[in-house]
Assembly symmetry: C2
Homo-oligomer: 356 residues x 2
C-alpha cells in the first residue's frame, strides 16, 4: 500500500482506553479518527473527530463507517468475523487482517496455531462436555485451568482445577465450549510487544515482566529479569507469528518463563497491550504510535527504551487515589475517562521512570 | 479552589494546535474537553468531546458553553475582554484571569507593565500618528521596529525602520495604533516557560534558545547557551509576573540576551508556547499537562528535562517533508491536522532528543 497522507482518517473498532490512546497518537501524527463502538459516551469517542454508535452486526452502519475512513483497525481481538467481512465488503482496508483476529478469538485455535508454528504451549485439550473434561484431567492431570474457548479476558471465564475433585460439574459451570490447560510451574510472566510495518519491517520492544492479580495485569517492570536466550526466543516467536499472517500492526504475545529460561506461550493479542503502556513515556515511539504508523503504511519508529520502568495499573477503586498520584513527582498518571469506578475495571495506569 | 475531579470538563477558547495539544493532555489526565472556536473543523475540535462554533462576541453561545464546563482556559491571548466577561457573568471560572490577557494583548501596555515591574525592555513609544512616529524616531533612533499595539503575532503587523527614511508614510501603512521599539543589539533570543499552581507553587522549565525566520519561531534548542545569572534573571522576571497577577497556568516570556548576559523582555504570552513544544517528549511533565494541572487546581508536575533538545517548526511547505520526517528515527513528528498548507502557517513540529 502507499502510505496514507496526514489528514487521512483512521477508523478504530472499539471505544475503550486502547482506542483512546490510539486516537491520541493518530492525532499527534496529523490523522483524524473515527470510532465505531456499541457503547455510548465511550473513552475513545471523547478524543475522536467522529463516533458511530452501533452494533458490530449492523452491516449498514459498518458500511457507512467504512465509507468515511481510509483504513480500519481495532482495539480488541473479539471483533466478530462478520464485522470484518462487512467492512471489507464495503470497500474498507482492514489491518490487521481478520484471519489473525479469528485465531486469537479462540484459545484452542490459538494454542493449536502456536504448536503448528513450533511455539511451545502448556498441554491443552478442547472441552465440549463433562466427559471431555474428565478425560482431559486424566491425561493432563491437576492442577489445571478450564477456560472458555472464546470471549474470556482479564481472568473472566476461567475455573481453576486444583485437584481432580474440582472438575466435578465444572463444565456446566463454565457454560460454554472450553479448553483445559495444564499448569506450568513458571518462574515469572513476560510479554513481548512487536510490530510489523506494511513493508515487512519488524521491530521489538524490550521484554515486559508482568505480575497479575485476580487474573488482571497489575504491574509491568523493565528490564525483565530474564536471560538473553529468553529474549531471543520471544523475538523469534513473535517474528514467526507476524510473518505467518503477513501481519501489519502491533501484536503482543504473553509467555510463562520456566526456571531454565524456556518460554511457554500463554496467549497472543493482535493489538496494542496493557503491558506496553509504559512506551508512552518510556520508549522513543509509543506502542500506540507504532500501531498507527504500521497500519497507515508509514515506516516503524525506533523502539529504544529510555529508562527503567515500573507501570502500575489502576484497577477499580485504585483510581480513587488520584490526588496522591497527581502529587507524586515520580508518577506519570493516565486516567481513561471512565464514568464509573467498578471492581476489576481498568480505570487508568501510572508509569514510573528510573535511571536504568 | 478545590481540585477538579477527573471526569470534569475543561473548556478551551480557541481551536488551534495549542488547544489541540492541551486537549490531548487533559484527556490523558481523565478530563473531558469542550472547545469554543469561531473556526469550523478546527485542529482542536477533532480531539475534543464537544465543540461549540460561535463568535467570541456571541454572549448566548458563550453562556451555554460556560454552563457545560467546570473551568475555562484559553490557547491564545487575544481573547476579547467582553468574551471573558460574558463567561464570568455566566458563572464560569476562568484561568488565567482576564486582567493579564488584557495586558498581553497590547504591546504598549505590556512593555509599560514590564517597566513598572522592574523588567528591562527595549526603548519604546506609543505611536498614534505619523507625527508621533517622527518624534519617536528622533528620540529612539533607527534601526527600530514599528508594530501594531494589538493583534500582531508571528511577525505580522510589523514594519522594520532601518533608517529614518523608512519611517516616511509608515504609520499609514501600519494602519492601526502602534508602538515603536528601539533595536536591541542582542546576541541571542531565549524564552522561559513558567507555571504557577492554584496553591501558589511555581515551576520553571529550562530556558529555551530560539531562532526566528521571517518573524516566526523556526528552531528551539536546549540547553540555551547562556550564563547562570541569565537563567536566574529570567526566573525572577517570570516569578514577578506570575505573582503580580496571582496567575494560574503556564506563562511564557520571550527575552533578548545582550552580550553581557543581561535580559531585555520582548513579550509575554499568558499561555503555553511554541518554544515549549519540546516538553512533550523532553520533560517529565509537558507544558500542556502543566497548564491543565494548574487550571484544575492539581499540584504542578516535575519540569525536569531528560535530554538535549532541538525542536524544529514545520512552517508552510515544510510539512510536505512528512515522508522524510516520518522515516527519520531521530525525529519525533507532530502534525496539527490543518487541512491546507499555507505560507507562514504552523503545520507541525519535530522534536529531536540527544544525550545531554
Amino acid at each position: 500500500m502507499s502510505p496514507l497522507q496526514p489528514g487521512s482518517t483512521i477508523g478504530i473498532l472499539g471505544g475503550g482506553q486502547l482506542g483512546r490512546m490510539l486516537a491520541i497518537s493518530a492525532a499527534q501524527l496529523g490523522f483524524d479518527v473515527h470510532i465505531f463502538t456499541d457503547e455510548p459516551d465511550s473513552p475513545a469517542s471523547r478524543v475522536a473527530a467522529k463516533t458511530v454508535i452501533g452494533s458490530y452486526s449492523d452491516h449498514a452502519a459498518l458500511a457507512d463507517f467504512a465509507r468515511h475512513v481510509n483504513i480500519v483497525t481495532t482495539e480488541f481481538e473479539n471483533v466478530p468475523a462478520e464485522t470484518a467481512e462487512a467492512l471489507i465488503a464495503a470497500g474498507a482496508r482492514v489491518a490487521p487482517t481478520p484471519n489473525v483476529l479469528a485465531i486469537a478469538q479462540d484459545r484452542f485455535d490459538e494454542k493449536s496455531y502456536f504448536l503448528s508454528a513450533g511455539i511451545a504451549t502448556p498441554p491443552f485439550k478442547a472441552i465440549g462436555s463433562q466427559d471431555d473434561l474428565d478425560a482431559a484431567i486424566a491425561e493432563i492431570g491437576a492442577p489445571a485451568i478450564l477456560k472458555t474457548r472464546r470471549l474470556g479476558y482479564d481472568g473472566r471465564g476461567q475455573i481453576r482445577i486444583k485437584t481432580a475433585a474440582d472438575a466435578i460439574g465444572a463444565y456446566e459451570k463454565l457454560g460454554a465450549p472450553g479448553i483445559l490447560e495444564g499448569f506450568c510451574a513458571f518462574e515469572r510472566e513476560v510479554s513481548i510487544i512487536a510490530a510489523r510495518g506494511a513493508n515487512g519491517a519488524i521491530a521489538f520492544y524490550d521484554l515486559n515482566e508482568n505480575e497479575h492479580a485476580g487474573g488482571i495485569l497489575s504491574r509491568t517492570t523493565l528490564p525483565a529479569n530474564v536471560i538473553e536466550s529468553t529474549v531471543i526466543a520471544a523475538q523469534a516467536a513473535a517474528r514467526r507469528v507476524l510473518e505467518a499472517f503477513d501481519y501489519v500492526g502491533v501484536l503482543t504475545i504473553e509467555f510463562f518463563v520456566m526456571p531454565d529460561g524456556a518460554l511457554i506461550a500463554n496467549e497472543m493479542a493482535p493489538r496494542v497491550h496493557n503491558s506496553g503502556h509504559w512506551t508512552i513515556e518510556g520508549a522513543l515511539t509509543s506502542q500506540f504510535e507504532q500501531h498507527i504508523r504500521a497500519v497507515v503504511g508509514w515506516p516503524l519508529g525506533p523502539t529504544t527504551r529510555i529508562a527503567a520502568i515500573e507501570m502500575l495499573n489502576l484497577i477499580g477503586e485504585d483510581a480513587n487515589d488520584w490526588p496522591q498520584l497527581a502529587a507524586d513527582p515520580t508518577a506519570r498518571l493516565h486516567l481513561y475517562g471512565k464514568r464509573e469506578v467498578r471492581a476489576g475495571r481498568k480505570m487508568g495506569h501510572v508509569t514510573k521512570l528510573r535511571s536504568s
